[in-house]
């Protein structure tokens, strides 16, 4: 049962070969069995899942099945779920039970999905390792050959990626502000796509950096991601930045092939000190695409190297303002104080973890009087240059292919000495968010220690179809069949 992909499980459900209750019961069992080891879920909702599964079986029996009827999913705990606690990985929201359902999860429920629980994440999605969660680190189900060191699943959607990789869910929602879908997907050997900014509604998703945040799915195959994104995406008049553009048949696009496509290779991504294994895998991926009929083109994105520094101005600036609402007055945890200011300062000092506080302070500083022009305004201008780089190369190519991350998964506790070291994880993914483009990570091979590595496909705005086509072509060529050591059904 655990070896079925989402698409296969959907077909088996429709053919009545398995029931939604059987499938959900198996996944509920997997969550119960493995979560003590992996900590992929903050909150488990087995009763809700089984109730939804029974409703799914009724729908299947009556021929009213939706695209996801009976499919058990993990929901990143950044999506507000009506009646189910939503923490954003933070103590400050530990008691928060939303009275509303995010648009993305409402879309999934509309299509019949089953929710197994709320997936762990870096606090407020700020991190690349899941080490900043107030609910404990998530353990990557993969380990190095002959080495039991616990590895990080990446972040911030580490719980989502680990749950999918370990077969604790058939798919999961995730969000990506600077790489939070793609980097954990790469670290956990699964597929994840951050769609174009505006493709998925942000309504009801706890905000980190509003101009960068996008929801997207992680799943075990490119097609599974396409199916999930097809449900999650869509215009929402409750989000002013939601694009009123029709959602195409993403799953169909996976079968298109790449013949005749022009694939750009940004030369600036080949940075000094890139691990030879990563570079080799990249070249392998390009060779596969060439073999499949694509033309490989050398391109230049001259400002890409400034993406990370720009990001670490823009994202903290927006976050410092977005997180001002967590003040202990209307919801969430409150620490007492003798006056209003003390209440605020105590609540926020106790409720936020170190990384969140660090980013709030950076963001506060770069917006403050006398520093706005030097930091924030400057960053917005560099952001414009980064976008222009992409716009220029997309005159000539249909998609770009790069590595997803500069390394494979690392050990829990590594890269923690200096915040900047951790930030460098996102060097290949961040420019895509700065430009609002779609980006997909697909597992393409293992490194010498047996850990998965991902390749990133970047597309034009609202051209996820080409991204899926390229991703599926890499997937077909790579025949990636390795599985993590910790997984359900193993």
């Amino acid at each position: 049962m655990f070896e079925l992909s989402l698409a296969e499980a959907r077909d088996a459900l429709r053919a009545r070969k398995i029931s939604a209750r059987e499938l959900t019961t198996a996944y509920v069992g997997a969550v119960e069995a493995l979560n003590p080891r992996l900590n992929a879920y903050i909150t488990q909702t087995p009763e809700i899942a089984l109730t939804q599964a029974d409703a799914a079986d009724a729908a299947l029996a009556s021929g009213n099945a939706g695209p996801l009827t009976g499919i058990p999913l993990a929901i990143k705990d950044l999506f507000c779920t009506k009646g189910t606690r939503t923490t954003a990985g933070s103590l400050i929201l530990s008691p928060f039970v939303p009275p509303y359902e995010s648009t993305v999860t409402a879309n999934l429920l509309r299509d019949g999905a089953v929710f197994l629980g709320k997936a762990n994440l870096d606090e407020f999605a700020m991190g690349s390792s899941n080490m900043t969660s107030a609910y404990g680190a998530v353990t990557n189900p993969w380990t190095r050959i002959g080495d039991s060191t616990a590895l990080v699943p990446g972040g911030s959607s580490g719980g989502s990626a680990a749950a999918v990789a370990a077969r604790m869910a058939l798919g999961a929602t995730a969000t990506d502000t600077g790489g939070s879908i793609r980097q954990p997907a790469a670290f956990c050997g699964i597929v994840g796509i951050k769609p174009t900014y505006g493709r998925c509604s942000r309504w009801g998703v706890v905000a980190f950096a509003s101009s960068l945040d996008q929801a997207g799915p992680v799943a075990r195959t490119v097609e599974d991601c396409a199916i999930l994104l097809g449900s999650m995406a869509g215009y929402d008049d409750k989000d002013s930045t939601s694009a009123n553009i029709a959602v195409p048949d993403f799953a169909a696009a996976c079968k298109r092939g790449v013949k005749g496509l022009r694939i750009g290779v940004p030369r600036e991504y080949r940075m000094d000190g890139m691990a030879p294994e990563i570079d080799a895998l990249w070249q392998q991926g390009l060779a596969w695409l060439r073999d499949a009929g694509a033309t490989i083109v050398d391109v230049s994105l001259p400002h890409t190297k400034y993406g990370l520094a720009t990001y670490y101005i823009v994202a903290p600036a927006e976050a410092s303002s977005n997180l001002a609402r967590y003040d202990g007055v209307r919801y969430g945890a409150r620490s007492p104080g003798h006056d209003l200011t003390e209440l605020y300062e105590n609540t926020r000092a106790d409720g936020f973890g170190a990384e969140v506080k660090r980013r709030i302070m950076i963001g506060t500083y770069v917006l403050s009087a006398g520093y706005y022009d030097a930091y924030y305004l400057k960053a917005q201008k560099v952001r414009a240059l980064i976008l222009k780089d992409f716009t220029d190369v997309f005159q000539d190519v249909d998609a770009l292919v790069t590595p997803t991350a500069p390394s494979a998964a690392f050990g829990q506790g590594e890269k923690m000495d200096d915040p900047v070291t951790m930030y460098l994880n996102d060097m290949f993914t961040v420019p895509v968010n700065m430009a609002g483009l779609p980006g997909l990570s697909v597992p393409a091979g293992l490194d010498s220690q047996g850990l998965p590595l991902g390749l990133q496909v970047i597309g034009k705005p609202f051209d996820e179809e080409t991204v899926f086509a390229v991703g599926a072509a890499i997937e077909r060529a790579a025949c990636f069949s390795a599985t993590p050591s910790i997984r359900a059904g193993a």
């Binding site: 999506f79 507000c80 939503t86 954003a88 929201l93 928060f96 939303p98 009275p99 509303y100 995010s102 942000r202 309504w203 009801g204 998703v205 706890v206 905000a207 950096a209 509003s210 101009s211 008049d237 409750k238 989000d239 002013s240 930045t241 600036a317 927006e318 410092s320 303002s321 997180l323 001002a324 609402r325 003040d327 007055v329 209307r330 919801y331 209003l340 200011t341 605020y344 506060t364 917006l367 403050s368 009087a369 706005y372 924030y376």
Partner: protein, 483 residues
């Protein structure tokens, strides 16, 4: 003669600018679908957006944008087809988001002008720097509990227009005249109800003083003054305070102050002393506000006639003095009432009735143009009865009082009370004869040269006829019989 204040070191001039916060007339809030209506049970006009729940997002209300554009057009101001919303970041109990969505760098309306008329009959232009849209905050109640303040977010997110004037105001009178005129324009446009008691309009008052020919000195901002009279008092009180500070060899500090009307003085707001750094930046939840020029033109085409234009038309069409016309256009409803009464009639007579007996009756009975039982049609009918000589002017006043009391039509009152004017010369002659016979001594005196007694005879005849005699016919009969 310019307004100045005398200090011990010489003559001082006031420099004042106003930031008026005017609540936009709309059904729902600026960025949420909750009701913008005043009042309501605490926290009932609140959506999850207004309570700044996690993941909630703003979506702008088209009508609020239209109201800001209408106001800009009414102030002869430049409409910016591209504007943007910024976040103004600060923490406060009634500010759920931790920021106010406002327009800092790119307001929707640019420079405009308000012409005010002063008591001496001169006019003055007060420049408008800008108008922008922003969110109102909620309300903190401090007097409900010994240790806690209570928070009601019903006002949170209601649309406000902040209208910023140039520092062109030079006296308390000018400040009052500017606010009065601005309020009148907003009410005419229907973009703000101007209800200062409910806080729909309030002003932050920037005041500094200087000696003739000097550059501007340091200013202080008096926050949230909620009546025109208090603004005028605050300007004067603050100017006098600053003059005293300067003349004592001190230095006026730039700060935020409050006006205390019971003591007629301003005092420093210590709670706002915390150095402010609002960290404005473009709100990433919103996109630039781009207006279609044709849409703006459409709004312009449907603007109502504004007070200055109406005043000019009343002078031209109805032959009124500018002074009378201005009084009649003070409120749109009054002007409309007047036009109903005056149209096709003696416009001057209509104006005299409105500004005389009618306004007096409103004052006396505590009613307004909207609530008075006297309809415009009935007042017009009364004037018609005078014009066609059914009643005379004296009886008209009696009829009018009955209209105020009952709301009945004047014709019905005249008939019911038998107040129709007597024009039957036989009846008049009989009354004249009776009066002259009963006052033979006075007739002698009159004939002996005491001509002022003529008025006495008129009064006696009218009295005998219960006031209904046609005055001209009575005069004529008396003249004839006394000659």
């Amino acid at each position: 003669m310019a307004y100045t204040l005398e200090g011990s070191t010489g003559t001082w001039e006031i420099v004042c600018g106003l930031e008026v916060h005017a609540q936009v007339v709309s059904k729902s809030k600026l960025f949420s679908g909750a009701s913008a209506e005043y009042g309501g049970e605490p926290n009932s006009h609140v959506s999850f957006v207004d309570a700044a729940m996690p993941g909630m997002l703003p979506v702008i209300n088209r009508e609020c944008v239209a109201q800001a554009v209408r106001t800009g057009l009414g102030l002869d101001a430049k409409i910016n087809l591209w504007s943007r919303f910024d976040r103004k970041n600060y923490f406060y109990a009634d500010l759920p988001q931790g920021y106010q969505i406002s327009q800092f760098a790119h307001p929707i309306v640019g420079e405009g002008v308000v012409e005010v008329i002063l008591a001496d009959g001169t006019t003055k232009n007060i420049g408008v720097t800008r108008l922008h849209l922003e969110q109102d905050a909620g309300k903190s109640l401090h007097d409900q509990d010994p240790s806690r303040s209570f928070i009601d977010l019903n006002r949170s997110g209601v649309a406000l227009m902040e209208i910023v004037s140039e520092p062109d105001i030079r006296s308390p009178e000018e400040a009052g005249a500017y606010l009065t005129k601005l309020r009148q324009i907003l009410r005419y446009l229907g973009t703000c109800d101007g209800n200062m008691d409910e806080g729909s309009m309030r002003a932050d008052v920037n005041v500094s003083v200087r000696k003739a020919g000097e550059e501007f000195r340091t200013r202080c901002e008096i926050k949230n003054v909620n009546s025109i009279r208090f603004v005028m008092l605050a300007v004067e009180a603050e100017a006098k305070r600053q003059i005293a500070v300067w003349e004592d060899g001190g230095e006026v500090r730039q700060e935020t102050r409050l006006f205390d009307p019971t003591r007629n003085e301003t005092r420093s707001m210590r709670s706002k002393e915390d150095a402010h750094d609002y960290r404005y930046f473009p709100d990433p939840d919103l996109l630039p506000l781009v207006l279609d020029a044709a849409w703006v033109e459409g709004l312009k085409a449907h603007l109502p006639e504004l007070p200055d234009a109406k005043t000019a038309r009343f002078v031209a069409d109805y032959g009124l003095s500018a002074y009378d016309a201005r009084i009649l256009v003070m409120e749109q409803a009054t002007a409309d009432f007047y036009e109903t009464v005056a149209k096709g009639r003696d416009a001057k007579l209509a104006a005299n009735w409105m500004m005389g007996d009618f306004f007096a009756a409103l004052n006396r009975t505590g009613t307004t143009i909207e609530t008075t039982p006297v309809s415009a049609a009935n007042l017009a009918a009364l004037i018609d009865l005078i014009a066609d000589k059914t009643i005379n002017g004296r009886i008209a006043k009696e009829v009018f009082e009955a209209m105020v009391e009952t709301g009945d039509a004047p014709g019905a009152i005249v008939e019911a009370k038998g107040l129709r004017q007597v024009t039957d010369t036989g009846a008049i002659d009989a009354a004249v004869d009776a009066v002259l016979a009963a006052n033979a001594d006075k007739v002698e005196q009159f004939k002996g040269g005491a001509e002022k007694l003529f008025g006495f005879f008129v009064g006696q005849v009218m009295k005998a006829m219960q006031g209904k005699g046609n005055p001209a016919l009575v005069n004529e009969a008396l003249k004839q019989k006394l000659s």
